[in-house]
């Protein structure tokens, strides 16, 4: 699957106007048909990273440096209107709470048809047929009925499927999925994860899949990037990351994660520092069992230690 990456984020820094950095030098790429998992604890900057890929920034948050390249187009150099058109057509977003993506006063069918009109110029019978096809593709039961339903008439799992159908309507090549199954019951989560794998296989969709749940990442991702305090601290293939984690934070997270049948958890002491309180040296240093003097003074770079394997730690 190597080749020119579909999406490249290069040296992205975000900050609050007049305030601290929120993301620092975030770089990664995404190949066609690949699922890149982005994992880390609350407040590490996963959602901001995901939004940046779509050229979106919450109010007050500004891009300070870096590029977000889709093929060769830098999203950050586009006007707001151009970005809006780019989104939906090339990249789309799915997030945890479908209710905030779906408009409560319009039917599911109507909302999908709006996307079809905007991005693909479909209307009338053609739009209706394509909508029903999309609803069936995401395995929403009784598409004809759901087409006429309002969001509140669907269960949580069905809403998530409807939001996925809407995201697919513009035939994007990249889906940014931010905690897409976190609010769902496990049995429903399992169905949605299967659906993502199917979509990837059928449509060669690439995913930036964001989750705080290591086991979800382990199940769906081909490659994984681990974030801590606004930066990527490790990047590896799924196998390498779970079999031989390198960064002390990744190791700590894995040891603290309650897997099925695990006998003993090792609690990682402390907590993620919030922006503005990042230590000057290695940001993980206050919690790191392998800390040395240098770690407190200098900030480690993300280094490639093996092909495709990167780690931000002096001791690797």
């Amino acid at each position: 699957m190597e080749g020119v990456p579909l999406l490249r984020v290069e040296g992205l820094c975000l900050g609050l106007a007049g305030g601290p950095f929120l993301l620092k030098s975030v770089s990664f790429h995404l190949q066609v048909g690949e699922i890149l998992g982005l994992v880390g604890e609350s407040g590490c900057g996963k959602s901001l990273t995901g939004l940046s890929c779509l050229g979106l920034f919450p109010p007050g948050v500004i891009p300070l440096e870096g590029r977000v390249l889709f093929r060769d187009q830098d999203l950050l150099s586009l006007s707001t209107e151009e970005r809006r058109r780019f989104r939906g057509r090339h990249l789309a977003l799915i997030f945890q709470e479908p209710l905030s993506a779906l408009n409560p006063v319009f039917t599911i069918g109507y909302q999908i048809e709006e996307v079809l009109l905007e991005h693909r110029g479909l209307r009338g019978k053609a739009a209706r047929e394509e909508t029903l096809r999309l609803l069936a593709e995401v395995r929403l039961p009784d598409p004809e009925v759901r087409y006429r339903n309002y969001p509140h008439e669907l269960s949580g799992g069905m809403r998530q499927r409807a939001m996925i159908a809407m995201a697919l309507a513009g035939e994007p090549e990249v889906l940014v999925a931010d905690e897409p199954t976190t609010a769902l019951d496990v049995t429903v989560q399992a169905q949605i994860l299967e659906l993502f794998k199917e979509l990837r296989a059928r449509r060669h969709l690439a995913f930036l899949f964001i989750s705080h749940d290591l086991s979800v990442i382990q199940e769906v991702a081909d490659r994984v990037a681990v974030m801590y305090a606004g930066e990527i601290v490790e990047e590896a293939s799924r196998e390498a990351l779970f079999e031989e984690p390198l960064h002390p934070y990744t190791r700590g997270l894995l040891a603290a994660f309650p897997r099925l049948g695990v006998r003993r958890l090792e609690a990682l002491p402390g907590q993620v520092p919030s922006p503005g309180r990042w230590p000057v040296g290695c940001r993980f240093a206050p919690r790191c069992p392998e800390r040395k003097e240098r770690c407190v003074k200098e900030h480690p770079e993300l280094r490639e230690v093996n092909p495709g394997r990167k780690v931000r730690c002096f001791r690797r």
Partner: protein
């Protein structure tokens, strides 16, 4: 010895007129559960299955419509008000969202000492005990003057724990106590819960939607589906790979992290408003047969300590 027993309890709530006058939503049906001495009993189930209703009954916050609730061997709701008040401090709760369960206008010191003050413990002594309790849950006494919003999620949950434990309860009901926490903080709290339980010989009813967490912490586990316990067994039984209730098997198979051997369970739990006839699980059960639609399976013991409600087990 039983610390807490629910025997064939039923609980339903009145619905608004939309469904017609006098319509009732039956949440718990003939549910029985026993929490033993020094035991951690896990209760797992998906959203809306009635876990929190069960927690309220187990905490004696609500009275069952039918059935019995015994606490420390006493028929709680048949006791006098005064006797009930004497028992209360021995039964405490910790909830999911400490931000919501801790009064935002009270300082840590007041939050932690409040249960003691209600028991008439003098202020100075209550304060000393609070300091001791805080250190037991891993907090420094510098936090005493702080308000909940000045604490992290993990610190707030530790405060909630200190508040629950300060009366030295015999039973603690924990309803999703780590669900709002980060992985690393969750592991810290789980470890703390285990340590305190051993130290004070308490019993926990640990309620969660997270099967791996429940299996990590508990000695015995009960699985709940649509207001009923469908299976109950020692922890090891769930991990041994033998036959379990079809719903439990589906829950285990749905735990992410591995390639799934078979297709995930289709559909979502139906709402309590449309509780299926016969076996509550039959519309989603891959093994359902005709009798499952009509006859409700009883919880039967199929091996020592292992009870299942299924016609085919």
């Amino acid at each position: 010895m039983s610390m807490l027993v629910l025997r064939e309890v039923e609980k339903s709530y009145g619905l608004r007129s939309f469904w017609g006058q006098g319509a009732r939503l039956s949440v718990l049906r003939e549910l029985s559960l026993e929490l033993r001495k020094n035991e951690i009993l896990g209760l797992v189930g998906e959203s809306g299955c009635g876990k929190s209703t069960l927690a309220r009954l187990a905490l004696a916050l609500e009275k069952p419509d039918r059935g019995e609730f015994y606490f420390l061997g006493r028929p709680y709701w048949r006791l006098s008000r005064q006797e009930r008040r004497r028992l209360r401090p021995a039964l405490q709760a910790v909830f999911q969202d400490p931000a919501a369960s801790l009064n935002p206008r009270k300082r840590v010191e007041d939050l932690v000492t409040e249960p003691l003050k209600l028991l008439g413990v003098p202020r100075q002594e209550a304060r000393e005990q609070a300091v001791e309790m805080l250190s037991l849950v891993g907090l420094e006494k510098e936090l005493l003057p702080r308000f909940p919003h000045q604490l992290s999620g993990g610190q707030r949950q530790r405060v909630a724990l200190a508040r629950a434990l300060i009366t030295r309860p015999r039973v603690v009901v924990l309803d999703e106590p780590t669900s709002a926490l980060d992985v690393s903080v969750q592991a810290q709290i789980l470890e703390l819960l285990l340590e305190l339980q051993r130290r004070f010989s308490m019993s926990y009813l640990f309620i969660s939607h997270d099967l791996p967490v429940v299996l990590y912490l508990s000695q015995r586990v009960a699985v709940m589906y649509l207001g009923e316990i469908v299976e109950e067994a020692p922890r090891e039984v769930f991990l041994a790979g033998g036959r379990l209730h079809p719903y439990t098997e589906a829950l285990l198979a749905a735990v992410p992290g591995k390639e799934r051997p078979r297709r995930p369970l289709w559909g979502e739990p139906p709402s309590l408003l449309r509780r299926p006839s016969g076996c509550v699980f039959h519309p989603r059960c891959p093994e359902a047969r005709d009798p499952c639609k009509e006859e409700r399976p009883k919880l039967r013991e199929i091996a020592p300590g292992h009870r299942v409600a299924c016609h085919r087990r």
